[in-house]
Symmetry: C2
Subunit: 389 residues, 2 copies
């Protein structure tokens, strides 16, 4: 069992009507605030107006960067960093989903670097300082609101790179489930698939586990399975939105990891997909996950699948372990493609075989797939991609 | 569903061989360190020597307060605060179980108050500042290593008072399961009973729950049930000690609470017991808990017991809910009195009826039992005490 450091200092205001604390929290870090957001949905839902009001009420000066992309691009990072330098920004206020928060983290880091922010992603330079970040979350999915990582795309090089730096951890996150009421049925499903996979990437591992963390992960998985369809059917169901929102944060804030050292599997593969095809991350994960499970199941891995099937899906523990394992993969497919109604193949979303080799090579190299739950080489990844057609 | 603030900034070094980080962590806060500990068991297990070595290696100056009691007394708080003032202490280093850490929290607060520390406990003065606290945990039980509360006794007034102040939250906790290898079978059992009850105090509530937190609590309870007997039978079983240690922190660090506002039930009653009889907290809780459950079970509360019985003890959900509820209470008794081998009555530990009324009055007044899961008045508490005879 590996040792580990637990350190999640983000303060979270969870629930409705907490924005009254925003001004005081921002003021701890200075007067000049850069508000970052995406395509403008925060204006449609009235959140933009409320935030501007709180910022003004606190006597702070507001600057803006809008238009951050769903798979955020390094050009947005550079644009934000330029504003930070030019306007002497003290604190960043990210309002949106994981893409906006991810991008804002690297803006905060690039504000201290005189050069192309891509140098940070390619690790030519390291990150030792970051402007303080406060966020208001509008989508339950990536968990970026409570971790120190982010993923940035470079359309020119067709790269999509994820990195973690402790200084990029948000200081404060505002998690109001009502801010996710207008998230579409489809994006709700993609978010659920994303957080579901975040847990599986850790749950399926070969380190000796802390049982208590396995039980927590099983609980989080059951929560997603229970409430994702409720939120899809009743978008303004507070209980469903609240459960999904808090689960998305805990799926990936580091708590459930508990010293496990192994590389993730589906995420590295998916990052290559969305780097080239610009698909929604959760959708790419959904298509990959059951195929990866099928490819990974064998006599050496069956016990973890058995535990998963019994404890998450309630499959009869008296059945043969391999049968439980296979049934559990069917249940995952059923959840992703029927309950969540996600497309279930590359073909359906316009991905053909033409980039399989290049994506497989990058996934193995950047994702360290040789150190995954079941070690995967380039041929393995191509095989999994083919199963997704 | 209530809103809440989540804020657990304690950094935790979990696992073996992490003490090499102690010097650097202490040095962040200054040069003059007050080491606090109990009766000297840390010398027997060699931990004292290792800590002194790390502190010296970091070039820090070490002062000491030993002899902190199992139910820590206000006299120890005053003694520690005196050292802090006289020696200009910069940082506190608590090495021990919950009693040592609790006491150290109030030492850190009383260091800024010129008067009897009991004034803090009786809330004549409030706590706005506290010396920084780092701890090395040697007993999995109270969760003090990751929360901002503590309980202090005053033998003169026969009071035992618990309070929370955010500034008392430990900055860093070192959780090495091997430091609990020498904890006796009996104290291991009492610690398990303590953490078990911490979860029940929150799990059984009338607020609308976040389902995801209920699933987490069910997982933590299952972990205690699974590993407490293992640690009792094999005191050097790392997996068992690690699971119990990390579970004890998460049982009460605030995470599972998630906005629930209701008062606790068994803790206020137990504090009165150990204030007068100086018994081990976990033992008092163990005797009270199944009686409180029995007294609390009725048509209005049965659904929570049903959920508990099915999800924690795996009782057949097809049975009648009231039967599941009753069976779940039997299983709790079985766990506490047979598996953990704890004494199961007041009579066995020398408590008679003579203080029932005074203890009941204080428990209701200090513990706010009118706002508990099942509201309890003085007569109710006396009735529960009588069931414990």
């Amino acid at each position: 069992m590996n040792s580990f450091i637990y350190d999640i200092p983000t303060r979270v205001y969870f629930g409705e009507n907490q924005l009254g604390n925003l001004g005081a929290e921002l003021s701890k870090y200075g007067k000049r605030v850069l508000l970052t957001y995406g395509g403008g949905s925060i204006k449609k839902i009235g959140l933009y107006g409320k935030i501007v009001e709180e910022v003004k009420k606190a006597g702070l000066e507001l600057f803006e960067l809008s238009g951050i992309e769903p798979n955020p691009r390094v050009s947005s990072v550079n644009a934000g960093a330029d504003i930070c330098k030019k306007e002497n920004i003290d604190v960043l206020l990210a309002v949106g989903g994981g893409s906006v928060i991810d991008c804002t983290k690297f803006i905060g880091a690039a504000a201290f670097y005189d050069g192309d922010a891509w140098d940070i992603l390619t690790q030519k330079v390291t990150v030792e300082k970051c402007l303080p970040i406060i966020d208001v979350l509008t989508l339950a999915a990536t968990g970026s609101e409570m971790d120190c990582g982010g993923v940035i795309s470079n359309p020119e090089t067709k790269d999509k790179i994820g990195l973690l730096f402790p200084v990029m951890q948000p200081k404060v996150s505002f998690l109001d489930p009502t801010n996710t009421y207008t998230v579409s049925k489809y994006q709700t499903a993609c978010g659920a698939a994303d957080m579901f996979n975040h847990i599986l990437e850790v749950y399926f591992n070969r380190n000796q586990d802390l049982y208590m963390l396995d039980t927590v992960m099983e609980g989080l998985l059951k929560t997603i399975i229970k409430f994702a369809p409720v939120a899809m059917a009743e978008p303004e169901n507070y209980e469903a939105r609240a459960n999904l929102m808090w689960t998305s944060s805990w799926a990936i804030n580091g708590f459930v990891n508990g010293g496990k050292m192994q590389a993730w599997s589906c995420h590295p593969m998916e990052h290559e997909l969305s780097a080239i095809y610009d698909i929604t991350h959760g959708l790419g994960l959904a298509i990959l996950t059951p195929r990866w499970m099928e490819y990974t199941l064998d006599e050496t891995t069956v016990s973890k699948f058995y535990q998963f099937g019994c404890n998450v899906f309630g499959i009869d523990p008296k059945l043969d372990p391999m049968d439980v394992a296979k049934k559990s993969i069917e249940m995952v497919s059923e959840f992703l493609f029927h309950t969540l109604e996600l497309q279930n193949s590359f073909t359906e979303i316009g991905i053909d075989t033409s980039n399989f080799e290049v994506m497989a090579r990058k996934a193995v190299m950047l994702g360290g797939l040789a150190y995954a739950f079941k070690p995967l080489n380039e041929d393995d990844v191509v095989n999994i991609f083919k199963m997704c057609l």
